[in-house]
């Protein structure tokens, strides 16, 4: 029961994917071949709108690699997206908890990452 590959930002496509369970309707973000709530392998891959609300934000000023250091300061955010899951992304440094946001995509250390801006 391995997760079939999905075209999303983690594989270089400018979309945000998630999964839903056809048996129990659970919604989740980290891809896998079964439902972590009920164990069913009848799962569907879906695209998210990228719209949501800022849950938390931290602006990184000390990065661990030379590639990432070229981007400091950068804001890492946790966003509750409207499809019903939480995800990590980058975002504008002025974002506040509770702000309504939508995702764009930006380059970071050679690959694309979701980048949230005020909606």
């Amino acid at each position: 029961m391995s997760a079939s590959p999905v075209a999303d930002w983690t594989t270089g496509t400018e979309t945000i994917a998630h999964q839903t369970c056809k048996a129990c309707s659970h919604v989740w973000y980290f891809r896998r071949g079964f439902c972590p709530a009920c164990g069913s392998d009848d799962v569907a891959a879906r695209q998210a709108t990228g719209e949501g609300t800022v849950f938390a934000i931290s602006i990184v000023t000390r990065a661990a690699t030379a590639e990432a250091r070229a981007h400091v300061p950068y804001a890492v955010v946790l966003v509750d997206v409207k499809e019903g899951f939480r995800m990590m992304g980058h975002g504008d440094r002025g974002l506040k908890i509770g702000d309504r946001v939508k995702a764009r995509f930006e380059k970071f250390t050679g690959h694309i990452v979701p980048y949230f801006v005020k909606a």
Binding site: F30, V60, A64, A68, H111
Partner: protein, 378 residues
């Protein structure tokens, strides 16, 4: 029934040229001497992991190196909670009759054994390889996210959190083995450079070299009478993205299980050892466990309640924040200090009374929790 019958702890900081096995051996030698036991008395060995010596069989390698042939031996890994998780397992093994004397040992040259960037990068890998790590977070960033939300939710300020950094430094000043002993003020913490907002340099524990060990025994083998009453764990998530409820990371679940196993409660404790990777970690753990009301742990610290002369002394060696953090051994220094306090051997740091203590460790991003109650029985 099990007892902590000996402890060993090296200074934390720089141990130039000392390897993981050297530092483990130093701590183990001290713990054996402290207990009065001999190598041949040790029939169980538990160790954690070392980022500078990633090995499939670290406990077996250490046993061979140190000169022990145990009948039970392996490493375990639950991040910063590993030390107390080993203590809990040692307690269970001894209580079950599997072994008589378990050596729990850790050591790592985390500071001088690798480049600083390498340490930060390795630790950041507790994040999800596809959905978190590509965003360039660090451990302080994961905790910065947690801090931003927790402070928002419960009305905590950065100045308030700084009180924990000041307190741990005050405690460390009285311990010759601590990595950082220069007193700091709230203003110093506030002026230290940002690492990952809202966390600044002095809100973060350092990277250290060091070793720590303790021995868990079935019988009282010396004059120390420190009994492990009971322990509990909880693991509600691993990645910060999936930490659902800022009011319940799992510390209260673990502590509740430890209370059930030990018959002890928060009203019984007179010393407390809490994992303090960051100032925010202390606030969250103290509040979720129920030692402080929500949003008030830092105010209690400011009021002196957690000082050596306070109502409930906390991490009197200086904690991870100032004694230092060498990985698995980091939180084991809390166990060693608790033992020294309970046996009246803490010297200038000695608290008035330490007869029943609560210890709590967390691993990952408040992911894995272990609580343990210990009491003095003689």
């Amino acid at each position: 029934m099990s007892y902590i019958t000996g402890v060993g702890l090296t200074p934390y900081g720089k141990h130039e040229g000392r390897s993981t096995l050297d530092l483990m051996s130093d701590a183990a030698t001290q713990a054996l001497a402290d207990s009065g036991l001999k190598r041949g008395d040790i029939d169980g060995v538990l160790c954690g992991y070392s980022t500078t010596m990633p090995h499939l069989m670290l406990a077996t390698v250490f046993s061979e190196h140190f000169g022990i042939q145990p009948k039970y031996c392996h490493a375990i890994q639950v991040g910063g909670a590993t030390g107390l998780a080993m203590g809990m397992l040692a307690h269970e093994l001894v209580t079950a009759g599997t072994v008589r004397n378990v050596l729990v040992v850790a050591g790592e040259n985390r500071l001088t054994g690798q480049a600083r960037d390498s340490a930060i990068q390795t630790l950041a890998q507790v994040g999800h390889p596809d959905f978190e790590v590509p965003l360039g977070p660090t451990i302080p960033a994961y905790y910065g996210l947690v801090a931003s939300r927790y402070m928002h939710e419960f009305g905590i300020t950065e100045e308030q959190l700084a009180e924990f950094a000041v307190l741990m430094r005050t405690h460390a000043a009285a311990h010759p083995g601590a990595q950082f002993r220069e007193p700091v003020t709230v203003a110093d913490v506030m002026a230290s450079r940002s690492i990952a907002t809202p966390l600044k340099l002095l809100d973060c524990c350092p990277v250290s070299d060091g070793g720590a060990a303790f021995i868990v025994s079935r019988d009282l083998v010396n004059d120390f009478g420190i009994r492990i009453m009971g322990a509990g764990q909880a693991h509600l998530h691993q990645h910060v993205t999936l930490a659902g409820d800022v009011a319940r990371y799992g510390a209260s679940d673990a502590c509740g299980r430890a209370m059930a196993a030990s018959g002890a409660g928060l009203k019984d404790i007179d010393y407390v050892a809490i994992y303090d990777s960051f100032t925010i970690t202390l606030a969250i753990l103290l509040e979720e466990i129920g030692i402080a009301r929500r949003g008030e742990a830092a105010l209690m610290a400011k009021g002196g309640e957690f000082g050596v002369k306070g109502k409930l002394p906390l991490n009197t060696h200086g904690g991870l924040l100032s004694y230092g953090h060498c990985g698995t051994g980091g939180a084991m220094a809390h166990v060693v200090e608790t033992h020294l306090q309970m046996t009246g051997r803490a010297g200038p740091r000695q608290v008035r009374e330490a007869s029943l203590a609560l210890m709590h460790g967390d691993g990952g991003i408040l992911s894995s929790h272990v609580s343990m109650f210990v009491e003095r029985v003689r």
